[in-house]
Amino acid sequence: MRIFKLAGSNFFLGWIMSSMIYLALLAVLFSTVSTLSFDKWRSATRDLVTIHVPKPAEIIDSDDGVTRLDETLKILRAFPDIESFTVLEKNDIERLINPLVDKDILKNILLPALIEIRLKRNNSLPDLNNALKNLSTDIFIESHAELFLPDAKAFSGAKKLFSVIVGLTLFVAMISIIFAVHAGLAINRETIQVMHLIGAKNGFIARTFQKHVLKVLGFSSACGTALAMGTFFILDRLLRVAFFGDGEIDIFKQINLWDWTIFMLVPVSYPLLGIIVAGVSVLTFLRKQN
């Protein structure tokens, strides 16, 4: 039974809520995906270091013909906190430098040896550094975790930004509900007066408004969620190709049940919060009127 005339405010509210839920879902998903990607990235690089050994072929012990690289490897083998290490092939190093340096120049550069090391624990890095510095001060260690520190800050900032976006969408959504409810109350002033004279309590009128708001918000939630899911599928395809190469990353596979639960809280919580706000708005308005 449509007691109140709310077609105008329903249309306005429907659009606003669909848009806000859509934006909030995008923000939550981007936040989730970026966190997951960064966590994955960080865990992959946390205990990873690269040792640069300049002039690797230089003989440092003329009697045994031991090169600087040999001596470095000897230290590494003796170091207890190393899980594994790999000496990068010259081709691999050239491939890394290739985009940065011209091929002709590359031929004339004396490339350092690069050793990729996975440590058992990251806090043993200073000991390793000391051991290598004793051999040569030119050898230096590059910690991948430190290398990605600026990126970590960017990720953390992005996460905060997504939280702010969710907060803003919630704020706009709730303000819109209050506005729509007040518009509805003004339009239906006479009907409300008649209902009061028949014996309606404010609670009944508030519940009637809440039912309307729930219907609109339920529909808006479904629309916003469907739109967001469609956008995710498109972005999933685009992101794979654009940033990670085909098959490197699958957004949907990365998201677990807990993340989906948080994600689904948005289209569920907005209507629930909406009916609370609508109810409180109607009751406050009617109390002021009486």
Binding site: V194, M195, H196, L197
Partner: protein
């Protein structure tokens, strides 16, 4: 049931409409309230359903002094009354059936009971063929009957009707009055405000008359 003791009614900043009004409507009564247009009939009814409160005197409703009734209690008191407004005050976006069902919905009556009673009552007031029509598609007399049906659907203890025959011809006015008589017979107390002297003569019920802001009583 309704007792006025030296009641004065005035709208804010204006001269008193009614002064020193005293009367007592007990159980099982049917009264007419008459007076010229603007005499204060509607204001008196308004005071009974607590649309306005007296500036002086005491009004007692169903054994309660209305000055002691809290805002929260007003709906409960109003639920014991049925009101037929002069301008009907039907909700135009609801069908005839929905308008009449509204009080029952408000009181939380079961849907099955509403589905049974509403068409029965509308049949009784001669609108059985208009259940799903909107009020705007009905004539003045039909709208009046919808308003009456809405006022009596919840079996009120007291029915207040403000010029219920004001918008209809004499034939329909007679029919409506017979309808009120029937309601009275089933136990509803009735107070009808009207300036139609013909009705007062045709139906022999006690009359409350407002003249010069005063109320007089005649059998």
């Amino acid at each position: 049931m309704v007792r006025f003791e030296n009641v004065e009614i005035r709208y804010r900043g204006k001269e008193a409409i009614l002064t020193d009004v005293s009367f007592d409507l007990g159980e099982g009564n049917f009264h007419f309230l008459t007076g010229k247009s603007g005499a204060g009939k509607s204001s008196l009814l308004k005071a009974i359903y607590m649309g306005i409160f007296p500036s002086k005197g005491k009004i007692n409703l169903f054994g309660r002094d209305i000055s002691s009734i809290t805002k929260k209690e007003i709906p409960e008191i109003r639920r014991r009354m049925g009101i037929v407004f002069q301008d009907f005050r039907l909700i135009n976006n609801l069908t005839v059936r929905e308008n009449v069902a509204l009080p029952l919905r408000i009181f939380g009556t079961k849907s099955s009971i509403i589905r049974r009673h509403v068409p029965e009552l509308l049949e009784w007031v001669g609108l059985g063929d208009h259940l799903d029509d909107l009020p705007t598609s009905l004539s003045g007399g039909q709208q009046q009957r919808v308003a009456i049906a809405r006022a009596v659907i919840a079996r009120p203890v007291l029915l207040l009707a403000d010029e219920p025959t004001g918008n209809v011809d004499d034939t329909i006015a007679d029919r409506l009055l017979y309808l009120f008589k029937e309601l009275h017979r089933t136990g509803t107390n009735i107070l009808i405000a009207t300036h139609n002297e013909n009705l007062l003569q045709k139906f022999d019920y006690p009359v409350l008359r407002i003249e010069d802001r005063k109320l007089s009583f005649s059998d």
